[in-house]
Amino acid sequence: MTTNPAAGVAGARVLVLEDDYYLATDLQEALEQAGATVLGPCSTATDALRLIEEKRPDCALLDVNLGQGPSFDLPKELSRLGVPFAFVTGYEGNVIPEAYAQTERLEKPVGPGQVVSTTSRLLTGAGA
């Protein structure tokens, strides 16, 4: 935890995956107010994968959605690229695969302060 969480976030490129428009734009607003640049927000993992081909994010916030068909391609790709990420989820931990047991989770509903402090932790490597 840094004393000024927003400090590390300014100027960072944060990928946001969230299929709900309101939640996505809330995340975007919180991050932009802290000085970050949002990649996306993307409503599908496919869009996000296409986006990171062009621009490499510094970190990512990913919504966990079980309703769209089975794919963990995006977290896999981010891990491969060494991009830290956190899950934003309404699910309990047991639906997250074992491989991501250590990945930080933000439980919905998420306030802007939490978004910024989590992003800051991801960027400084203080997150798991």
Partner: protein
């Protein structure tokens, strides 16, 4: 025991022959008579001893502790000792012994002196005269009632278990576990199964065949489990999926005969139970997800409704309307799996919620079934349009009219829904809140984001026009789930 019996019989035979040869001549007074010896033999050996005529027509004598004693030659001996239903069998054995001149031996039931029925193992040897002809038969019958009762009880018990295995709902099988040439448990052969086995597995009658023969592939997992039960000698309780059969089984596996590598397995097909438990877990997770998501959405709507309204009263009214529309969409999401949401129903519901009168509205369009997500977004969009019409547009004027029409058209290989909202008869156009803020954002930004379509507005003479279009995607309720994603 048998040796002893033979010995005893030999003695008795000698005694009997002595009697026959002596012909009742003078014996030593102190010496026991053959008669005495005969009786002594009966009581000492717990045997019934008997003498029969060469053709077994007459019973000369029978001495016993348990059977009625015959002391004079009698013809109807069979009536006394042999049960009617056994006479045929006993008769056949006697005829056989006479024909071959060898030992008679048979286990059969007898009527005891007290009227009850017992079992004897009866053996008789032919005694021959000097000319070699059979003079008589000398026999001894040992009471084997206790052993027979035990055997019968065992048979009864076996029959009872057999009935149990045959009638129970659980599948039961005995298998012989087989090793491969390297000594690893590799396969197994079915030795016994009950009728439920075929029901639970949908396999043909498997007895005599190996699992590999039956399923067409080796089954190392099963062989290993059965082998484990043999190796450890302890019972295993496991739930296993059998891919070849596409079924999940709940099994109790236990070693039946470790020397012969035999394992018994008691199991049930729990495929359905497992599926419904999994579905329940998924639904619970999904419910949690949705509740949290909806709370987050409400929080966002509360915040977003705030800056567009002038008064607190207005704010509350709008907020209530939006939350009510959101609530209506929730009911649509949990309908039966595979059933889309009827577009016309959504349109009518949203107009009804605004208390729009029938003659101010016309609705036209083909039957369209919407996926839940599309239904949710469209409901909220129509809510915004209808609310705006009530406050500022067509529904706020006597002559106002709203024409809602939609069509489905193919674009890029997909069906798109194109819906037009056209207000008429609005004399003074007021740029209501729909021009900015929540409703605008919903239609012009949320529709592209979530439905990959477009939404637009236009204020034209006569009233507001809006066009909403998006590709139709298949998908029923949130109950249609078969996996997860991020």
């Amino acid at each position: 025991m048998i040796g002893m019996m033979r010995e005893s019989m030999d003695d008795a035979a000698k005694a009997d022959i002595g009697t026959a040869e002596a012909g009742g001549g003078p014996g030593t007074p102190a010496a026991p008579t053959a008669e005495d010896r005969f009786r002594a033999l009966a009581t000492a050996g717990a045997l019934s001893v008997y003498r029969m005529s060469p053709e077994w027509r007459l019973m000369y004598q029978l001495d016993s502790d348990t059977l009625a004693v015959t002391s004079e030659a009698t013809e109807d001996w069979a009536d006394h000792y042999i049960l009617p239903e056994d006479r045929e069998r006993v008769g056949a054995a006697i005829r056989e012994a006479i024909a071959t001149g060898t030992i008679f031996e048979l286990e059969h039931r007898v009527r005891l002196a007290d009227g009850s029925i017992g079992w004897v193992l009866s053996r008789a040897v032919p005694l021959r005269g000097q000319n070699g002809r059979i003079v008589e038969w000398f026999g001894a019958a040992r009471d084997v009632s206790d052993r027979k009762r035990t055997e019968e009880a065992l048979r009864d018990s076996e029959a009872k278990y057999r009935r149990l295995f045959d009638s129970m709902d659980e599948a039961y099988a005995v298998v012989e576990v087989l090793k491969d040439e390297t000594g690893r448990w590799a396969d197994f052969r079915f030795l016994e199964v009950n009728p439920a086995f075929m029901e639970h597995t949908a396999m043909p009658y498997p007895v005599g065949r190996t699992a590999t023969e039956l399923l067409g592939t080796p089954n190392p997992r099963w062989a290993a489990l059965y082998g484990q039960a043999l190796d450890s000698g302890t019972a295993l309780r496991v739930e296993e999926t059998e891919p070849a059969l596409g079924r999940v089984f709940d099994l109790n596996i236990f070693a039946l005969d470790r020397a012969q590598n035999r394992v018994a397995v008691l199991f049930t097909n729990v495929t359905e139970r497992r599926r419904s438990l999994n579905l329940q877990d998924t639904l619970l997770a999904e419910l949690q997800h949705r509740v949290r998501n909806i709370m987050a959405v409400i929080r966002s709507i509360v915040r977003r409704s705030h800056d567009e309204e002038r008064s607190a009263e207005d704010y509350v009214q709008h907020l209530e309307g939006r939350i009510a529309a959101l609530a209506r969409t929730q009911a649509l999401l949990t309908r039966r799996p595979g059933v889309g949401v009827d577009l016309e129903e959504i349109v009518r519901d949203e107009l009804l919620a605004q208390a729009a009168s029938e003659d101010q509205v016309s609705i036209r369009g083909p039957d369209v079934a919407l996926a839940p997500k599309a239904a949710e977004v469209l409901t909220l969009a129509l809510h915004e349009l209808a609310t705006n019409a009530t406050k500022y547009g067509a529904f706020s004027h006597r002559d106002g009219h709203v024409d809602i029409a939609w069509r489905v058209e193919p674009r890029d290989g997909r069906d798109w829904l194109v819906l037009n909202w056209a207000e008429n008869g609005v004399p003074i156009l007021v740029p209501g809140p729909l021009r900015r803020g929540f409703g605008t954002e919903l239609i012009s930004s949320r529709i592209p984001y979530e439905l990959r379509g477009r939404g637009s507005f236009e204020l034209r003479p006569g009233g507001l026009r809006s066009e909403i279009e998006f590709p139709l995607v298949p998908g029923g309720s949130i109950l249609d789930m078969d996996g997860g994603t991020i």
